[in-house]
Amino acid sequence: MIELTDVHFTYGCHPVLDGISLHVQEGEVVGITGPNGAGKSTLLYVIMGLIKPQSGEVKIFGVPVNKFKDRHKIGYVSQKATLINRSYPATVLEVVLSGRAAMRGLFRFLGREDKRCAEEALERVNMLSQRNAAMCELSGGQQQRVMIARALAVQPRVLIMDEPTNGVDAANLAGLARLIKNLHNDGVTMILVSHESEWLSSFASKRVCLDRKICSCSCHYYPGEIRWRDCMNSRQEKISLDCADSLVRG
């Protein structure tokens, strides 16, 4: 579904991604963790085609990312989504509907079909009853659910979330994990970046530990069974699971 081969990306003379190879298969929930500055968000930007790597290949659904046109197959929950727009005058339904703007196309207005899809997405995140509430009246956890609903409104095949725990208090983290598990059970492929490695471990079917290069990668499709996956190139070490905490600096 998503394939990165030996991707290198450098900001100036500072290498951020150093030979990343990663395969994401349909139905997987990939949790990417690592210390600050490890290149987690940059990796997502490369996957989504927002930045172009200096070398390496990125394919989405078998198509090179620079030629990929079916953007509605990707749902994205931005790291900044809940941080910058708290006082934005908009209702929950208006925000979720905005996710379908690109899918509807230029010079066409949103209609009943869009509203139905938006309400279905809100139902999936248990926020339908709040559809007419103002965004500023919601808690951080509820706002994050709305952002996920906005991404789901286009019925994407892969959902990418950058630090979805931002602005979500500890009490709501478990609820967010339950929601992600439910989406996984519905067959949604997901890539999540979070510095909360333990939280990611509670539901991710593949965990990737990143620190400019991939330090470890593991998969477990069935409870109790853990199998290593040869998803790295020769420079990447295969070390034990849950290495993220030990990598966090200072």
Binding site: E94, N132, E137
Partner: protein, 269 residues
């Protein structure tokens, strides 16, 4: 009412109502994108356009529209150049606009004070030609904004996600800058160059106190803009005030009233 017996007043009302609708709609997006200063910068560029129009004998509003469009593209280009200091682009264009205007006004020996009617607006001097220009530019601006409203909402709310979803963010941003520039150009005859940004921002400030949905805020902002233009023009006619000053002071009083009422409602609740 004797106000409707005068042709100049009818022209002022037609132009004023159009501007009263367009300015708050564009102003809502300008405010939500935290770009209020851009309206000020472009209105100062309009001053050089008006001065150039007066010097060369061209239609001043059309000349202002051309200069404002150029200024908007310059801001967009400079924003790319100074990505981390994007406000620098606004300051550069504002300074350049005032500098060019000062030189041209000097060359025209002040245009016998004619430039003053563009600084603060004038209802007496609005010509039929002005109304045609306002309608010719203003109506397409209004229609285009409504056509792009879902894209503008998505980009204003979260530009990064809009880009990932496949929206042509750069194209829409350039179009939006052009629409903002044209809105300022058509409004300056009514409210004046120095006060045009107020007609874009103040109705939005009032509306944001009254509504919590985007649609509600848009409707409330337009209603506030139209009411303020009508009251302001009436005051201008009966009290012989500058129309721009009367309209903006009406908006300021409406904002104070709304702030007092909403704080009382909040306290009571």
């Amino acid at each position: 009412m004797d106000i409707f017996q005068y042709d100049f007043m009818l022209r002022a009302l037609v132009g004023g109502l159009l501007v009263g609708v367009i300015c708050p709609i564009i102003g809502l997006f300008v405010t939500l994108r935290r770009m209020s200063m851009i309206a000020d910068a472009l209105s100062h560029v309009c001053l050089s356009g008006v001065a150039a129009g007066l010097l060369m004998g061209a239609q001043p509003v059309l000349a202002a529209a051309a200069f404002a469009l150029g200024g908007s593209f310059l801001i967009e280009g400079l924003r790319e150049k100074y990505k981390n200091y994007s406000e620098l682009s606004i300051a550069i264009v504002l300074s350049a606009g005032v500098a060019v205007a000062a030189i041209i006004i000097g060359l025209g020996n002040g245009f016998n004070g004619g430039i003053m009617s563009y600084l603060f607006g004038s209802i007496v001097l609005i010509t039929v030609e002005d109304i045609y220009v306002i309608a010719l530019i203003g109506i397409p601006v209004l229609l285009l904004t409504m056509v792009f409203i879902k894209e503008l909402f998505a980009i204003t709310f979260d530009e990064e996600t809009a880009l990932v979803s496949g929206l042509p963010v750069k194209l829409i941003n350039v179009c939006f800058m052009a629409l903002t520039a044209l809105t300022i150009a058509v409004s300056l005859r009514i409210v004046g160059i120095l006060l045009v940004s107020s007609l874009m921002v103040l109705p939005v400030a009032v509306a944001m106190q009254l509504a919590k949905s985007f649609r509600g805020t848009l409707v409330a902002a337009v209603a506030t803009g139209v009411v303020a233009v009508l009251i302001g023009l009436m005051c201008s006619f009966y009290l012989d005030l500058s129309p721009g000053g009367a309209i903006v002071m009406t908006l300021v009083l409406m904002l104070i009233l709304v702030l007092v009422l909403t704080s009382r409602w909040t306290t009571a609740a």
